[in-house]
């Protein structure tokens, strides 16, 4: 086996033709013009194969022999390593990694395996990995750590005046706080209820980290019955009990990690935006469903019609027309038809 290559000695961009071959004892023979040299396998580095790109055989003095016959170089590498096993041992790790990659990008079977592995891992990560990570983080972070985070968010919204002081009558606030206290005790969570006027956010309710639940004046005013608000509060306290905000953070971190691992930060960063947002959307729907189930369970146990939640949602939809789901409670919650009524 004789491989024709171009030798560049690394001093100038001039090359000369050489012929590479395997000599006895695991030595690389180079026929360079009229002279013949031999190098021990340990002194040469043979670049790994990348599809059909030219390969480089680097010698100890830094000169590089560039050849295009990839199959022949593979054979040369194997022959040298076999004849000089002691020298090949130090390269076992690098050669092993390269061989693994080569198995996957060599042919259609390798591509099929790679594709299956990639899709399988992505599926498993989104189905079980991210939720498990969320659970692990939820159990690792003590609940006391949540409170300042949520309070800071509320303070920040107060600061930028997205939140204004409530205009609700104190008696109305007190009666809702009493109802809130009942649900809180029933679900066994630590939480506070606050009221704010927030014109930009429409009829809305939030549960922030640490258990602060906020009702906007608009959602209190649009309710026709206190039980509708009880349903909303039970739903929000469901988020609080399951610490969904922390799970969301853990999961979006996991998604970012997966995407930076999959794509180099070039064009792909642009493309990566859409799929990651889709994933996040489906997670938050899962959380909504969980909160719905907790609310449903609370309402039935306390003799309240579970359809109260839907009554309110329908009224919100009707009140704000076609363009309303930009900011109201609807925007963060699935459409009415999808919510569990059974």
């Amino acid at each position: 086996m004789r491989i024709h290559a171009e030798l560049y000695d690394g001093s100038v961009t001039t090359g000369r033709p050489v012929v590479l071959s395997a000599a006895p004892g695991g030595r690389l023979r180079i026929e360079d013009g009229g002279t013949i040299r031999e190098h021990a396998y340990a002194e040469v580095r043979i670049a790994s194969r990348i599809a059909d790109t030219p390969r480089r055989v680097t010698l100890a003095d830094g000169s590089g022999c560039i050849a295009t016959d990839n199959d022949a170089i593979d054979a040369l590498d194997v022959a040298l390593a076999r004849a000089a096993p002691a020298q090949a041992r130090g390269r076992r790790f690098r050669r092993g990694v390269d061989r693994l990659a080569r198995l996957l990008d060599r042919d259609a079977l390798g591509v099929a395996v790679a594709l299956t592995v990639a899709v399988g891992i992505l599926f498993a990560a989104s189905r079980w990995g991210a939720p498990a990570l969320g659970t692990a983080i939820v159990s690792a972070v003590p609940p006391e750590a949540d409170a300042p985070i949520g309070q800071q968010l509320v303070d920040a919204l107060d600061q930028i005046r997205l939140f204004q002081p409530t205009a609700l009558a104190p008696e109305r606030q007190d009666s809702l706080r009493r109802a809130f206290g009942d649900i809180r005790g029933d679900l066994g969570v630590d939480a506070r209820l606050e009221f704010r006027q927030a014109k930009l956010l429409g009829p809305n309710a939030f549960a922030v980290a640490g258990g602060t639940v906020i009702l906007t004046d608009a959602i209190v005013e649009i309710a026709m019955h206190d039980e509708e608000l009880v349903a909303v509060l039970a739903h929000e306290l469901g988020h609080v009990r399951e610490r969904h905000w922390l799970r969301m953070v853990a999961q979006s971190a996991a998604i970012v990690v997966i995407w930076t691992a999959v794509t180099d930060p070039t064009l792909a960063t642009l493309a990566a935006v859409a799929p990651s947002q889709l994933l996040e959307l489906s997670y938050s729907r899962e959380f909504e469903r969980e909160a719905d189930e907790i609310a449903f369970d609370y309402l039935t146990r306390n003799g309240i019609r579970p359809t109260r939640l839907q009554d309110l949602l329908k009224r919100i939809t009707a009140s704000c027309g076609e363009h309303c789901d930009q900011a109201s409670w609807l925007s963060s919650h699935p459409p009415v038809e999808e919510r569990s009524g059974d």
């Binding site: 560049y8 670049a47 000169s63 390798g110 594709l115 800071q152 303070d155 691992a261």
Partner: protein, 330 residues
């Protein structure tokens, strides 16, 4: 310059990289990066020889692990940070703390990427100093903000000059001629694009909103900004390359803004429609187009570029083994 890469061949390299990176929780990413570069460079021919990327993935691993740890720390700090007017205090404090090492990272990364890029076994190199990098990175960014953007084209121009003038191929130095006028014109043009298209796009988005939903309406309103950023990237790259010399050798880059915009937009649609599988093809489309618009006017015999004896491959091997590589941001 000719590119011989093929979509399906690159797809095979890419999917193997993705599978191994995922299966090793990211530890394989330096190998993925080197293999991707080697595929792209190895198919880029100048004369009868292609380019080569010679970095060793093992030496890139510690630098990557440190970068990941820093980013993770920043995320956690962000999460538990007090907010001041909606801005996360610890996060921005973390960014400020990072500013002093930014020039060091920039110099190391550029030097790493150029040093390992070789043609006919002669390496490129970067000789920029940390001190000057400190001037054109954190300080210039702050000065640009302080001038409300007015000084930014000039600062960006000087920064590009710093990057080009300190780059070389072997002993042959790169030089960036011209002046900051081209940069001012480009930034002014991008402002014009945003101002001119903003209202029409808002109007169209408003009209189509009921039909296409808020997600696509938001995309329509973002189009002027995206077009403006493509305009800046393309015009600056054209200007920069067309004013760069390597010894007596000149270059010309003639990318069309609309052609690049079309490539990016169609790539995004195709990537979304194929659940990401189009990514390698998308990357090759852009790479091939860029090279097809790039011209080299040699002023000397192709075989007479001298290597820098101080950066001989054998001397480099020793230098690399005692420090780890940094390759972020490239």
């Amino acid at each position: 310059m000719v590119f011989y890469g093929e979509g399906w061949k690159y797809f095979r390299v890419w999917i193997a990289n993705v599978a191994l990176t995922l299966a090793t929780l990211g530890l394989y990413s330096p190998w993925a990066k080197v293999r991707t570069r080697r595929y792209l460079y190895g198919n880029t021919y100048f004369g009868n020889e292609s380019f080569d990327f010679t970095a060793d993935p093992v030496s890139m691993l510690p630098g990557r692990l440190i970068a990941v740890a820093l980013i993770a720390t920043l995320w956690v700090a962000d999460l538990f940070s007090p907010l001041v007017y909606g801005f996360s205090l610890y996060y921005f404090a973390g960014l400020l703390a990072f500013a002093p090492i930014l020039p060091w990272v920039v110099v190391r990364a550029r030097s790493f990427n150029l040093r390992h890029t070789r043609w006919r076994n002669v390496g490129f190199a970067f000789h920029g100093t940390y001190r000057e990098a400190a001037l054109w990175y954190p300080i210039a960014i702050l000065a640009g903000i302080a001038s409300m953007g007015l000084a930014w084209p000039w600062l960006r121009w000087r920064r590009d000059q710093y990057l080009t003038d300190n780059s070389s191929f072997g002993l042959t130095q790169c030089r960036l001629a011209g002046d900051s006028g081209g940069y001012y014109g480009t930034y002014a043009g991008s402002v014009g694009i945003v101002i001119g298209l903003m209202l029409p796009c808002l109007f169209i988005a408003g009209k189509l909103m009921p039909a296409v939903g808020p997600f696509f309406a938001t995309i329509i309103t973002a189009l002027p900004f995206f077009l403006a950023s493509v305009y800046i990237t393309v015009r600056l790259a054209n200007y920069r390359w067309s004013n760069t010399t390597l010894g007596g050798t000149r270059f010309r880059l003639r990318l069309s803004v609309m052609q690049m915009f079309w490539l990016y937009m169609s790539n995004m649609v195709l990537i979304a429609a194929t659940a990401g599988l189009f990514i390698p093809f998308a990357r090759l489309r852009v790479f091939r187009y860029r090279l097809s618009r790039f011209e080299v006017f040699l002023a000397q015999d192709i075989a007479t570029f001298q290597a820098d004896p101080a950066a001989s491959p054998s001397a480099l091997g020793a230098a690399i083994s005692d420090g780890f590589e940094i390759d972020v941001g490239a």
